[in-house]
């Protein structure tokens, strides 16, 4: 078992890292402690064990874990937002084209329904909501 002081060193290093999520911090603190304890049981000093833990658990830094977590958690939402953006762009372009066509063909009655403003706000609201 590691001492209270050693726990504080580990805890402080993780709490002050790029990881903002408290749940993820707790997971990593426990993981670091378990790893360090196992290394110390095999005869390593605390400093060496802590260094080894860094290399094994976060070889590319804490930021990578935070980013990977955010990516996995928000992947679907981001995908949906992208689809909404593409869809609004498509409708905007389509309505502009059709509106221009009606204007050229002198069909003014249909024009207001094809103006991008008619579609832009509902689609923009949808995008914001998602």
């Amino acid at each position: 078992m590691i001492s209270e002081k050693q726990f504080e060193i580990i805890s402080r290093a993780i709490r002050h890292s790029e990881i903002a999520d408290k749940a993820l911090q707790d997971d990593l603190i426990d993981h670091f402690c378990c790893f360090v304890e196992a290394e110390m049981q095999s005869g390593q000093s605390f400093e060496n064990a802590f260094q080894a833990a860094y290399e094994q658990i976060t070889p590319n830094g804490f930021g990578e874990i935070q980013q990977e977590t955010l990516y996995l958690l928000n992947h679907k939402k981001r995908l949906l937002l992208n689809q909404c953006t593409y869809l609004s762009g498509y409708v905007f372009a389509l309505s502009t084209t059709i509106g221009t066509f009606f204007k050229i063909m002198d069909l003014p009655g249909l024009l207001p329904y094809c103006m991008p403003e008619c579609w832009a706000w509902p689609l923009f609201s949808c995008s914001c909501y998602w």
Binding site: M1, E4, F7, I29, D30, F35, T69, L72
Partner: protein, 120 residues
């Protein structure tokens, strides 16, 4: 995602979620470090999960409602035990089935002689 002395990460990419679900199904509740050690032990050191990579996937499973956590305080630190939810158990069966089917298909493509004689 992995440190693999034997397998390339491309081969193993996408299987960590299934591995976690299967281990939780077999062992009930487990904490992160325990999962890493179990994978290392069962695979005889051939698959070493780069430990930090485990938690993004565990948190994703948690957010999807596949697993639930139980917190136990050990001294000053908090240990979280992960357990499969009923939804996770159903998903685990499907994921294992899908993986088995995929491996079977791969076997047919790669290890079976599919060479055909050209039509005359």
């Amino acid at each position: 995602m992995y440190i693999c002395p034997m397998y390339s990460k491309e081969l193993l990419k996408g299987t960590l979620g299934v591995i976690i679900l299967k281990l939780l199904e077999e062992n009930g509740k487990m904490y992160g470090y325990e999962i890493c050690q179990k994978v290392k032990g069962i695979s005889e050191g051939k698959i070493l999960i780069k430990d930090g990579s485990l938690y993004p996937i565990l948190h994703k499973l948690l957010s999807d409602g596949m697993v639930t956590t139980e917190e136990v305080t050990i001294g000053k630190r908090v240990r979280k035990y992960y357990t499969l939810t009923p939804k996770g158990k159903g998903e685990q069966k499907m994921a294992v089935q899908e993986l088995a089917d995929f491996m079977d298909t791969l076997h047919k493509i790669i290890f079976t002689d599919t060479k055909t004689t050209p039509a005359v």
